[in-house]
């Protein structure tokens, strides 16, 4: 892995900086575009608005690739997200199971807390669109917690994470391309 990224790092530092700055600028611009669209759109859940927002966010994501790769290379990302055991590649006997009862209990506590928050949202009858957004957000956090601690992904090699998660994320994101259609079909239905 490292050799491959090293070959990318042949760029002069200054160029790196400029490139990253430009990319970040573009990414930021697209995020601003998406946000302003969200703000301005009267009805956020219309095809046009969704389409525009999604496309802007996707483009922002694409522009983030280079800065992220740079961050990875310079070790910024590694320090932030990598598992504790990951640096110890050369260890003779890799530690395979980590975590204490206390840790798992606190994770369980978190999951229960999030579930209670979700149920509470249902109790106070939050408007549907907001409710959906919050629920999906909370569910993703819960899923991440389960994946990371219960399913132990945090203590595996990062390469496993890199292999599994993008596959899933790409496919699920792709499935969301269906949605402009569902909104349209709603409008085109001839028998109600």
């Amino acid at each position: 892995m490292s050799t491959r990224f090293a070959s990318l790092g042949n760029l002069v530092k200054k160029q790196d900086l400029i490139l990253n700055a430009v990319c970040l600028l573009f990414a930021a611009a697209f995020v601003v575009m998406a946000l302003s669209n969200v703000r301005r759109a009267g009805n956020f859940f219309s095809i046009d608005s969704l389409f525009f927002t999604l496309v802007s966010l996707m483009l922002a994501g694409i522009f983030m690739i280079i800065p992220l790769m740079w961050a990875y290379e310079t070790g910024l990302l590694r320090n932030l997200f990598a598992a504790e055991g990951d640096d110890a590649v050369g260890e003779a006997v890799p530690v395979h199971f980590e975590g204490t009862t206390k840790l798992f209990l606190s994770i369980l506590g978190f999951l229960l807390l999030l579930t209670v928050i979700e149920v509470f949202l249902a109790y106070i009858q939050v408007p549907l669109a907001l409710m959906l957004t919050i629920l999906i957000g909370l569910s993703l956090i819960k899923a991440a917690l389960i994946l990371a601690y219960f399913m132990h992904l945090r203590y595996e090699r990062m390469s496993l994470v890199y292999t599994l998660i993008p596959m899933l994320v790409i496919c699920i994101c792709l499935l969301f391309i269906f949605f402009p259609d569902s909104f349209r079909i709603f409008n085109l239905r001839n028998y109600r």
């Binding site: 899923a143 399913m151 699920i172 499935l175």
Partner: protein, 228 residues
Amino acid sequence: MTTHAHTAERLTADDWSGGTFPYHIGHKKLGMWLFIVSDALTFSALLIGYSYVRVSSDQWATPFAFSPSILFSTSMTLCLLASSFTMVMAVAASARRDRRKARRWIGATMLGGLTFLALHIYEWLHLIEEGLRPFGLAQGSAFAKEWTERWPQASPLFGATFFAITGLHMFHVLTGVIYLGYIALRIRRKTHEDVEISGLYWHFVDLVWMFVFPLIYLLSVDFHPAVH
């Protein structure tokens, strides 16, 4: 042969040049992870299909009363979460090579799973008795009448999505319980990895429920309930 492989291992500059496990996990665990990815996509497709038909309908029935329906399903969620915790404890015990404890914790997990199944089946039977069907509503029941009054334009797909998605999930829970039972029975012959893999599957089932529960139940809450 073992020392030989170890020599090669030490000489290997990077994990990917053969003769070793690149992720430092065995076949079965990698296989289970891949299966989980693929199964997650089956559920995603179903949940997205559900969202699709819901969005493209004029009206979607939101029949679940906060009390008791949602509280009931919340207790089901708690069952699953608790069983996930006991499963982690089982894996931890197995990592310490404490098989007796591991078996007990697996037993507790199965108990959680079975409670979930029992509650779920009770809920299904209750709903069917009231008049909810995969194809819509049982004709002529008081429930159907009330439902039609409340949601005159409602898509009949409520029952279809509900039974299809929770049914498939229930099938997974059932398989999981059987699988765990098999592991618990033969725990003396199973490696730590085997226990861990069964744990992966169990947590995955839990993870799916973390999406099914909000999308199917919490987004169908109603203050003026039709389902009691």
